[in-house]
Symmetry: D2
Subunit: 150 residues, 4 copies
């Protein structure tokens, strides 16, 4: 989605940070879009992330949604500041099934100390999309703590 | 809390259901305690469940906390009813590190349609425990839907 | 906002229900817009609804936001069904001040048992609007319980 | 918990702050207990705080619960720091009715920037108590902003 040969610094920073999240690799998640205040993450359903009824576990859905919301917040932070999730809330609206799960993170309000972001999580089946979950997250901006910058 | 030599049906049902959650196996989680209205789950920190600063990812913490809360609710359900998480909210209070993460699920109010449960998540380091996260979850009781009984 | 001489049944039902909410009258709140899946409520700042710093109390903001979300859900319910708030979550983004507070309720996903709605709360000062709070609410649909139909 | 004949400065500070909350007066709420990390607030049901079914409006319940949680946090703050609610989440477990509503605020984890508090809300009818709602709130500690010290 970015035709330029060299990605901007903000995008590189977020791709590097995402690559260092062991959980995202374990879940099979991919960072598919970065824009100012917006980040998309996708994840394919596999038995490795299931709950007892065969659907994707709410925890796996929450994990990519939290990362999408957090990285959406990070796109708006200066290079010397990182973010930590202070809290999040997720509503599970339908069983997580389908060909692919997509979490679309978006900043609602960026603040000096706290940022509110949300993520809409949709399942894609064939050419169709269905809203399956909705998350809001409060991210805390941190600076100069143990070298945290992402 | 259970002096009987053979685990009751309720405990077997929950152990079988937990064993079928692919995500719990992927995260390395273990079901360590079942009592009426209460379930404990533990998880060791590994690089496979990390976030970008090397702590355990909030999504992994949320996943075991959601399962602990959900199974705490299931202990109070009759055999023909299962539960689904309708929503949960988690506050991350301190970085998730240490030797072991323990999520203690407990039912606050069991209702006909909706049950409120919470989980306290502590990190154990040496002999010490520290509260690192707090979750509340709303579980919806379901019956006769596609054979769901857990 | 409705040029027709006779408001539709759904609108009458919601106006009558709103008029019976003693708290809305006590807070000085007004129902200003009804559309399918959407309801707006406004409230002027007064000392009667203040917190200790002179801003509007988060509880008053939450009250009109909860009503806006709940009535947005009710617009999509058949005549014999009412709604009760099962839970809500509100993020307070900026002090609630200004000439008028406006809560815009909107349904995100309408379900058979549970409906997810949100409300954006803005303060209006002069001709400008500022987002001051964001609420998500889970509404439970109820039928035939003690004659509840709103 | 305080054997001294004269209330400590912390208690005076909180009583003065509560007295300046116009909304608490409007709702008929009373501050009934202050201890380190704990504050109780009561409110009698009246038509002035009702919702459409004659129960107490969730917004009024949330308002006293938010104040109870916030003042519980304030009991642990030094004199030059105040608190603002960053977000709260409330689960409504049963209709709010009875002779008196009691919100018991309690700090779960006090932090430098953010404090997590909860409130259990019970209805008292005759000599019996029933849990009707449960709130968790994130309070942000503020210092030196426009003279805010409560």
């Amino acid at each position: 989605m970015n035709p330029e040969p060299e990605p901007p610094a903000q995008e590189s920073r977020i791709r590097a940070s995402f690559a260092s999240q062991g959980l995202m690799r374990t879940l099979g998640a991919t960072l598919t879009r970065i824009a100012p205040g917006e980040v998309d993450i996708t994840m394919p359903p596999t038995p490795a992330i299931s709950q007892q009824h065969g659907f994707i576990h709410a925890g796996a859905v929450a994990a990519i949604a939290d990362s999408a919301a957090g990285y959406a917040a990070l796109t708006l932070m200066p290079p010397n500041r990182g973010v930590l999730t202070a809290e999040f809330k997720i509503n599970l609206l339908a069983p997580a099934t389908g060909d692919l799960i997509l979490a679309r993170g978006r900043v609602i309000k960026a603040g000096r100390t706290l940022t509110l972001a949300q993520a809409e999580i949709v399942s894609q089946t064939g050419g169709q999309q269905k809203l399956i979950a909705h998350l809001t997250a409060t991210l805390m901006s941190i600076e100069g703590r143990a070298g945290i910058t992402d």
